[in-house]
């Protein structure tokens, strides 16, 4: 529970640093900056693909692979689970349909009955278009904002950009970044793992406080 509250506070602190202070980091550098994580570079697609499999098998969950182009099946190599977004969108759809149906039925059939075109007060046919549209609207909003909430976008800055070599990830280099927030993260062991799976230019990324 405390971990989840910390996580939430950390997200809020990213956007409103004047309101909330970020929880104390697990790892700090000698200068006192929080540690974002470790990055390692790879030069070939198959290598980074198999490296990703190793990281996945080592049990890491908060990490990412940065590539200049899409790699097929990298999501299985990384062990990314299916998104929860469809369920959230489904819930929003039900909420939208319920809102549309109840608002119209409640107002025109019960609260303020009114004859429109000689139709019955509770003519479901007339409610359907708006019910449908509200269902679509709520679903679309949930898809967009749920997606943004789940992937943490938009954001002004990312700690990885402070690493000068990281810009090669959009050109000719593959980068694996393991975050310090991962429960399995250990400055020594994680570095050893990255070395073992063939990563080069392994570097510790500092987050500027």
């Amino acid at each position: 529970m405390k971990a989840q509250i910390d996580k939430l506070l950390s997200v809020v602190a990213d956007y409103f640093p004047m309101v909330v202070r970020k929880p104390a980091p697990r790892f700090v550098t000698e200068r006192g900056n929080r540690v974002y994580g470790l990055v390692a570079e790879f030069t070939e697609t198959p290598k980074v693909f198999h490296a990703a499999e190793h990281v996945r098998d080592a049990g890491y969950s908060k990490w990412d692979v940065h590539t200049p182009f899409p790699i097929h099946d990298i999501e299985t190599a990384m062990g990314i689970k299916t998104t929860r977004l469809p369920l959230m969108a489904g819930g929003a759809a039900i909420a939208g349909v319920a809102t549309g149906a109840l608002l119209q039925w409640g107002t025109t059939a019960i609260l303020f009955p009114q004859v429109v075109q000689g139709k019955p007060y509770d003519a479901w046919q007339a409610f359907l278009p708006i019910t449908f549209e509200l269902g679509i609207l709520f679903t679309a909003f949930m898809c967009i904002f749920g997606m943004l909430a789940l992937n943490g976008l938009p954001r002004f800055h990312h700690p990885l950009f402070s690493h000068a070599r990281f810009c090669h990830a959009s050109n000719d280099t593959f980068v694996i970044a393991i975050e310090a927030e991962d429960p399995n993260f250990d400055p020594v062991k994680t570095r050893e793992l990255l070395e073992k799976i063939g990563g080069t230019h392994i570097a510790l990324i500092e987050d500027e406080n």
Partner: protein
Amino acid sequence: MTQIAANHPAPAATALQDTEWDARLARIAADKRMSKDNTTLEPGALGGVMKMFLGVGVLGLIVTLIGGFAINPYHALAAYEVGVFTALAMALGGLFFVMVFHSLNAGWSITLRRQFENVAWMVRWVWVMMIPIVLIEILTKGMLFDWLDPSKVAESHLLQVKEPYLNATFFGVRFLIYGLVWITLSTKLIGWSMKADETGDRSLGRKARFWSGFGIPCFALTTAFASFDFLMSLDYRFFSTMWGVMYFASAALVSTAVVTLIASRLLARGKLVGLVHEEHFHDLGKLMFTFTVFWGYIGFSQYFLIWYSNIPEETAWYLFRQQNGWQWLFVVMTIGHFVVPFLMLVWRKTKRSPKLLSMVAIYVIIITAFDMVWIIRPMAYLNAGPDAVDPGFASWNVFLDIAGVVGVLGIFGAILTWKIGRSNLLPIKDPMLHEAMSHKNYV
């Protein structure tokens, strides 16, 4: 000119060279999934299935025929029509998808295209099954078509106004045109596909694409007008510009269901392993979902405008189907044809499982038959008078409805099964086959 051409040669052709083409076909043929065992059925493998379909079909048609003479010819003809127009929807939908795949150069569907082609090929036999309807209607002077009855035309101003379109001669001519268009398109497209199986000639695919281009508008017009002539004219007072689109929606929906069923049955027999997999079923499921929603959207739009404007000549059609014991059909259409398939197909798991999806496919075929019941059956009741035919399916006479539908669909299934067994189960020399093999949905 020659000088210029020599100095500025055309840029190297971006299309595949013939050698590359042959190399690609050789690569595809060398794939171990393309073994003869996997891509063809042994002769007679489907004999049992075919005999079952044939038995059921012949029995159903005989029962319908006897019922027509012994009980009520209106009822029997309506039951037969329900079956024929369900079958026509299947075949026309198949034809539509074959042309769409050709004209869009679709990659994912190549391993399924032969099955769509087989379903489209059936259009000739459905057309043959429509001949008795046309003959009976014309010879009996409008058993279910009021507008073919001269005595009714004489006393109805509306029928006189509509006579230039709704008359026996023009009806016959249009029926021949529909047959010509459908049979020509299906024969050409499927013939080239079969020929490409043997020769691997690269001009055939291009020809098919060219023909699909103008084939789709021809298909659209003939389908729409056929549905006007045979289904909307059952009640000559009614008119809806959405009618053709409604029938097209049913066609696209039910043909996808039929192909899903064929593909899952072939997989169960150990054919097309690795060639048709869950990704293809996912897409078939998406198409089924699409056309369920499309059908619902079009159907509701048509109903909604008529309901709101409340003009008697339009509302009569719906009003008649909401009373006289037909009320339950309205619920079957709204809940059964839209809500239930929507909720079943909205789940990703249903779409990706051949077993679950083929169960949905059977349901979709049944509910499409109910769609035709909703359009056709009440008219038999109206034309034959309340005493002659039961409203709804209240009495034991319902066996006639079942016999008509099962009879026609049985014959359809028998011929389709025979056709499936006669050729390769996929176009084996299609240059984009590798795309379909490695097809993957990233959603």
